[in-house]
Amino acid sequence: MAAIYSLYIINKSGGLIFYKDYGSAGRMDTNDSLRMASLWHSMHAISQQLSPISGCSGIELLQADTFDLHCFQSLTGTKFFVVCEPGTLHMEGLLKHIYELYTDYVLKNPFYEMEMPIRCELFDINLSQAIQKDRVALLGR
Amino acid sequence: MAPVAPRSGDAIFANVERVNAELFTLTYGAIVRQLLTDLEEVEEVNKQLDQMGYNIGIRLIDEFLAKSNVSRCVDFKETAEVIAKVGFKMFLGVTASVTNWDADGTCCSIVLEDNPLVDFVELPDTCQGLYYCNILSGVIRGALEMVSMKTEVTWLRDMLRGDDAFELQVKLLKQVPEEYPYKDDE
């Protein structure tokens, strides 16, 4: 059972810089994922525009019929979002953690060029561990 | 999430506000008669009845959906079933059956043995060719159109013409998906 279906990271201009799928049925190809990213980017922006109250920072949780989508946006405008089973908990925490990993292993990586797709195995490893841990944590309860 | 199973027609009918069928039957009859006197041609009356039915259908569908927890009508087959089993029951208090599916499941018959519309009704000789219950076909057409199914509804059997039951043939022409209405897409 996969609590988490996939993870997306989008740079401030809406470009997909990281996408990992954890076994969702019919995973999508890169084009689709790119389009999804930009679409989400704009939706996220629109959602802020439509806020009845000022100071809206965009969608944090989208509850679809078959999944939840948790989204975290760093102050730098990078968006992280996970697609998980409906009602999965602690996703905010997970996203925070992933953000830390991102800062540690991506931003601090001298070879990483900003706003570019992420190719750092350290990040991948830690990420997968985090996801695992999270799973374990889940299993733990 | 999975759609809630549609509630049974009887349960709903038991719950909805009801009135004497007489009032309904007689009112409908009076309307048909008035149409006949006003329009003279039977064909024209059929047309108007269908039109009226259509207009009713497009309103009624919402009540139907709201009261029978039908949350999606994507599959024509099951939609037809629901209309026959639940729809007829919850409104007219009679059950209809769906039969004669064709191969590709786009055409079926809704059969009514009992029909409150025609209590007391006897067609005069001058009104042969009148589809007395044509309003029903209109309603079905209208309702289905609102759930994005373009259909064509025709009478196969009519008790007022001596048949043993009422049979409506419902033929699915096409399903119209929802388009983004505004052309200027920012």
Binding site: - | V16, R18, V19, N20, T27, A30, Q34, N55, L60
Partner: protein, 174 residues
């Protein structure tokens, strides 16, 4: 208890009937439309009175007949009686139904205007009032039909000055 159908059957058929006559056939001739709608009601009332007076002794006078309309007849149709009957004892009766079913769902929002109603609100108001009155020709017809079938020729008009209450004025033709 005879067979029943969902109330919304009657509601929607009435709604459609009225709009058919008012908006499609005689869009610009409301008086003709009214005449038709009333006629339809008349036939229904005529037939219903035949039905509902079975098994009951004949009425001696107009008042009895009117009372019948207020009580049994009305409850057959609306599951409630007329709430208030007034008369001037000279052939005019006022039947008031404090919550007339067929008006219970009718409403338009006077406050709404601007982008929603293109024309100015009171015009919309009038339009709505006119439509409402169109809907009332039917029950008027029913009453008239019933009474005339009971041998009481009369004219019936409706007054909906305070919705959802509605009163029907019956003037018996001497």
């Amino acid at each position: 208890m005879g067979r029943e159908v969902a109330e919304s059957c009657v509601d929607s058929i009435l709604t459609e009937m009225v709009s058919t006559y008012c908006n499609r056939f005689y869009a610009n001739k409301p008086e003709l439309a009214a005449r038709r709608i009333e006629a339809i009601g008349y036939q229904v009332g005529h037939q219903l009175s035949e039905r509902y007076t079975m098994e009951r002794p004949r009425f001696n006078d107009h008042l009895e007949a009117i009372k019948f309309i207020c009580k049994d007849f009305w409850s057959e149709l609306f599951k409630k009686q007329i709430d208030n009957l007034k008369t001037n004892h000279r052939g005019t009766f006022v039947l008031q139904d404090n919550k007339f079913r067929w008006l219970s769902r009718m409403s338009i929002d006077p406050s709404e205007n601007g982008d929603l109603s293109q024309d100015n609100p009171e015009a919309a108001e009038n339009k709505a009032a006119q439509m409402t009155s169109m809907h009332l020709y039917f029950p008027c017809g029913i009453i008239r039909g019933a009474l005339s079938n009971l041998g009481i020729p009369c004219a019936v008009s409706a007054d909906m000055s305070n919705l959802p209450a509605c009163s029907f004025v019956v003037r018996i033709k001497a």
